[in-house]
Symmetry: C2
Subunit: 131 residues, 2 copies
């Protein structure tokens, strides 16, 4: 019967507190994953392409991540043209790896799920009716 599972007695069992919005938001997750995979950094335009983000959105998200200390932003020139180089900070790498550990828990939970029940309502508790 519903509600009799042991895990129901573990408050917050599926709260996933580690999925903090700063890293979990898709655009920022995308940026951090790109930069984590490129330790030497990525030029703004390459990062934009890898993440499929607009100039404006990437700029905004980079600023947020920079202010939080998760990424470094470097201004310079390459072939006489101004360039922006983005790199994950040590703190950013640490926080990203912690975040990924929580994702692994989500996946482990999903892997443990029971097979889908029939959805005809026949095994619902007595007196329970669909809304």
């Amino acid at each position: 019967m519903a509600g009799n599972d042991n895990t129901v007695r573990e408050p917050g069992r599926y709260a996933y507190d580690g999925l903090e919005r700063l890293l979990h938001e898709r655009a920022r997750l995308s940026i951090l994953a790109s930069l984590a995979a490129h330790a030497d950094g990525l030029l703004f335009n390459d990062l934009k392409s890898l993440c499929s983000l607009s100039d404006g959105n990437l700029s905004r998200q980079l600023q947020t991540l920079h202010e939080a200390g998760l990424v470094e932003v470097w201004k310079g020139f390459k072939k006489n043209r101004p360039q922006t180089l983005c790199r994950i900070s040590e703190e950013g790498r640490r926080r990203f790896l912690e975040y990924v550990t929580v994702l692994e828990n989500v996946i482990a939970d999903a892997a443990r799920q029971k097979p889908a029940a029939a959805s005809d309502g026949n095994h619902l508790p007595r007196g329970v009716a669909p809304t």
Copy 2:
């Protein structure tokens, strides 16, 4: 040098389009993971506890997921008290598993990352300076 990696030539490589906001938002992800692990459904209060959500937030998120067809919401009585039973729908389970597949890609990408570079800027391209 930054920007010379092969993956830079794959636009959208880290865009993770499958992380759609409907499922990716933490409270809703928490609800779906709980329900996926309890195929027979969970009573509202048990779900609230497992996800560490307030009554109001859980109600709102359930309504969003219900409207999207990902969860079923059943009203009934148990021991003469009105109860709400929540259950993941077949569509919800399918979408959740698709979502988890994308999470697995994020983790695989994170596992492939190179070791952190030194952060003293010594290997930056010529002319690049910190902001």
